[in-house]
C-alpha cells in the first residue's frame, strides 16, 4: 500500500552528532553541547527526549529541523540528508509563536501559502481547523486565544504540511497542569489520527511516560543519550497505575544518579 511506503521512508536517523558553540565570555573557546548523539526512530513512532536543562535537547531539535548545523555527524530523514529547514520537518515550540498579525485561519494556512499550494489545498484548512476544534475561532487574532488554544493552532499549522517528522520542543511546558493533561490527550489524538512520527522534548517525566513509545534519557552537558527506555504500557495509559509509577521512580532515580556523576 502507498501509505506504508510513505511511512517507511519517514524514519529519522541521527548519527554521531556533535555540536559546540563559541563561548561569548571567553573568545576562542567552545563549549561542547552534544557529544556524539545517535538514535533511530521508526515511522509513526512517538519518542520523548528527556534530560536535565542545558543538556542540549533543544539544540538537537534545531539541528533536526535544519535551523542549525552540526559540527560532525549525519542527520537523515528516510534516505535523505538534512541540509536545511524544510516543510517535511515541522517544529512546535513552547511559545506557540503564532504570527500575531494573522487570524487563526491564516496562521494555519501559512505553510500552504509559503509553499505556494494554498489554491489546491484550501479544503484542507477546514479539515485541520476541525481536527483541532477551532472552527469557531477562525477569524480571531492570536491575542484572543488562551495558551492551550494557541498551542492547538500551532500544532495544526505544523501538521497541515503533512511533515514526515514533527518536532515538539516542550510544547506544553507553559500550560497549567489541567490544560497540559488535556493537551497531552489532544496531541496523542492527533498522533493516532495522522500517524506522524513525533519527537517530543520535555522535562516532564510523567508526560514522557504517558505519551511516548520510547524515552531517550540524556545526560548533563555535553549531552549524550544515556539510556533508552521502551514504554510498553497499554494505551490509553493510566497515570496512577502501578507500572506507570514504577517507571517514573526508575527514571527519577536514574536522572538523580546522572546528575551526581556530572
Amino acid at each position: 500500500m502507498v501509505t506504508t511506503n510513505v511511512a517507511a521512508a519517514s524514519a529519522l536517523r541521527v548519527q554521531e552528532i556533535r555540536k559546540s558553540f563559541a563561548v561569548p565570555d571567553a573568545p576562542g573557546t567552545r563549549r561542547l553541547v552534544l557529544d556524539g548523539i545517535s538514535f533511530c526512530m521508526d515511522a509513526g513512532e512517538l519518542v520523548s527526549l528527556i534530560g536535565p536543562s542545558g543538556c542540549g535537547k533543544s539544540t538537537l531539535l534545531r539541528l533536526i529541523a535544519g535551523l542549525d548545523f552540526p559540527d560532525a555527524g549525519e542527520l537523515l530523514v528516510g534516505e535523505e540528508k538534512i541540509l536545511g529547514p524544510s516543510a517535511e520537518r515541522g517544529l512546535v515550540f513552547q511559545d506557540p509563536n503564532l504570527f500575531p498579525w494573522l487570524t487563526v485561519r491564516r496562521n494555519i494556512e501559512a505553510g500552504l501559502v509559503a509553499r505556494g499550494v494554498l489554491h489546491e489545498k484550501r479544503n484542507e484548512v477546514d479539515e485541520f481547523m476541525r481536527l483541532v476544534g477551532l472552527e469557531a475561532f477562525a477569524n480571531s487574532y492570536p491575542h484572543h486565544l488562551s495558551g492551550g488554544m494557541s498551542q492547538r493552532v500551532a500544532l495544526a499549522r505544523a501538521l497541515i504540511n503533512h511533515p514526515k517528522v514533527l518536532l515538539l520542543d516542550e510544547p506544553l511546558g507553559a500550560l497549567d497542569a489541567f490544560t497540559r493533561m488535556r493537551m497531552q490527550d489532544e496531541v496523542l489524538r492527533l498522533w493516532q489520527n495522522r500517524r506522524t512520527t513525533m519527537l517530543l522534548v520535555t522535562h516532564d517525566i510523567d508526560e514522557a511516560i504517558y505519551m511516548s513509545d520510547c524515552i531517550f534519557v540524556m545526560t548533563q552537558a555535553p549531552g549524550r543519550i544515556d539510556r533508552t527506555i521502551e514504554i510498553d504500557l497499554q494505551r490509553p495509559r493510566d497515570r496512577t497505575s502501578e507500572s506507570f509509577v514504577r517507571l517514573r521512580s526508575q527514571i527519577l532515580e536514574h536522572l538523580h544518579f546522572a546528575g551526581k556523576a556530572a
Binding site: 509563536n97 500575531p100 501559502v113 509553499r115
Partner: protein, 309 residues
C-alpha cells in the same frame, strides 16, 4: 449639563456685544450670526437628546470640551477687542478672523488644495523610498553596513537646511519642495522600518522556515508585518516633519499653499488672514493626522488592546 453650550454661547455672545460697539458692524455680523446658529443648534440638540440615548452619550462626552472652546473665544474677545491687552494689529479678535476666513475663502481654499497636493506627493514619495530603503537596511547585513552610517550622518540634517541646495538642483520650486518633504519623511520612515525589520523575532522566522518559507515569504509575510507597528511610528514622525517642511518650503520658494498665504498676508499686515490660515492649518493637519490614526487602527487591528498610544 445639556444647556452648558447654549449658556456658554450666550455668555460669549454677550461679551462680544459689550465690546464690539466700536468695531465696524460688517466685522461682527457673521460672528454674531455664528453664535445664533450655535445657540439654536445646541438648544435643539438639548431637546432632542431626551428622546435619543446615543446622542445623549455623545453629548455627555463632548459638551465640556465644546463649552470650554466657546468660552475660550469669549476670553479671546476680552483680551483683544475688550481691553487691548495685546497689541492690536498683530492679534485680531475672533470676529475679525472669522470675517477674514469668509471673505478670503476662495484663496484659502485654493491654498489648502495646493498644500494638500504638495504634501501628499512629497509624503508618498518619502514613504515609498523610506520603506524600500528601510527594508533593505533592516534585512540585509551588507546593505546595513554601508547604508546605516549614511543614514545616521545625513538623516538628522533638518530637511529645510537643504533649501539653498535644492533650489539650485530642482527644475522648479514645487519639485524642490516635494523633494524636501520627501527627504524629511524618508529619514524617520527608513530608520523605524529598518529597526522593525531587523528586530523581527527570530522564532517567527524559524517557524516560517520549518513551514517551507522561502526568502520572499520571510521578508514580505514575516519581517514586514512584524515591523508594521514600528513603521507606523515612523509614518507619524514623518508626518510631523512633513508639515513643518511644507510650511517652510512654501513660504520660501513656492508661490502657493497655506505657508505662502501666511507670509503673503503678513507682508500686507493682514493679521486677520494670518490667523485665518492658522485656523485652516490646524483643521487641515489634524484631519490628516486623524486619518493616519484611523489607518493605523485598521491595519493594526491584530494588536487591538495592546496599543498604548
Amino acid at each position: 449639563m445639556q444647556l452648558a453650550v447654549p449658556v456658554a454661547s450666550l455668555i460669549t455672545f454677550g461679551i462680544h456685544l459689550l465690546f464690539s460697539k466700536k468695531a465696524p458692524p460688517l466685522e461682527t455680523h457673521s460672528y454674531m450670526l455664528l453664535f445664533w446658529e450655535i445657540f439654536g443648534v445646541s438648544v435643539v440638540l438639548a431637546i432632542v437628546q431626551s428622546f435619543w440615548p446615543a446622542l445623549r452619550n455623545w453629548m455627555r462626552h463632548m459638551w465640556p470640551i465644546f463649552t470650554a472652546a466657546i468660552l475660550l473665544l469669549g476670553v479671546w474677545d476680552v483680551v483683544t477687542l475688550g481691553f487691548h491687552l495685546v497689541p492690536l494689529p498683530y492679534f485680531p479678535g475672533p470676529a475679525a478672523v472669522l470675517r477674514s476666513l469668509i471673505s478670503d475663502r476662495a484663496l484659502l481654499l485654493d491654498s489648502t488644495w495646493h498644500s494638500l497636493v504638495l504634501l501628499l506627493s512629497g509624503y508618498t514619495l518619502g514613504v515609498i523610498v523610506g520603506l524600500i530603503s528601510g527594508v533593505c537596511i533592516g534585512w540585509s547585513s551588507s546593505v546595513r553596513y554601508w547604508g546605516m552610517p549614511l543614514l545616521k550622518v545625513v538623516g538628522p540634517i533638518p530637511a529645510t537646511a537643504w533649501i539653498p541646495f535644492s533650489m539650485v538642483v530642482a527644475p522648479s520650486a514645487i519639485v524642490s519642495a516635494a523633494g524636501l518633504i520627501a527627504l524629511a519623511v524618508w529619514f524617520p520612515v527608513t530608520m523605524l522600518t529598518a529597526s522593525g525589520v531587523s528586530n523581527t523575532r527570530a522564532s517567527y522566522l524559524d517557524v516560517a522556515r520549518t513551514l517551507g518559507a522561502g526568502r520572499a515569504y520571510l521578508i514580505f509575510r514575516v519581517a514586514i508585518p512584524a515591523a508594521v507597528p514600528n513603521i507606523f511610528i515612523g509614518l507619524f514622525m514623518g508626518l510631523g516633519a512633513s508639515f513643518l517642511t511644507l510650511v517652510v518650503a512654501e513660504s520660501v520658494g513656492v508661490k502657493s499653499g497655506l505657508g505662502w498665504y501666511v507670509s503673503w498676508a503678513q507682508g500686507w499686515a493682514e493679521y486677520g488672514k494670518v490667523f485665518a490660515a492658522l485656523v485652516i492649518m490646524a483643521a487641515f493637519f489634524s484631519t490628516i493626522m486623524t486619518l493616519l490614526f484611523k489607518l493605523r487602527d485598521r491595519v493594526l487591528v491584530w494588536q487591538k488592546g495592546m496599543i498604548k498610544w
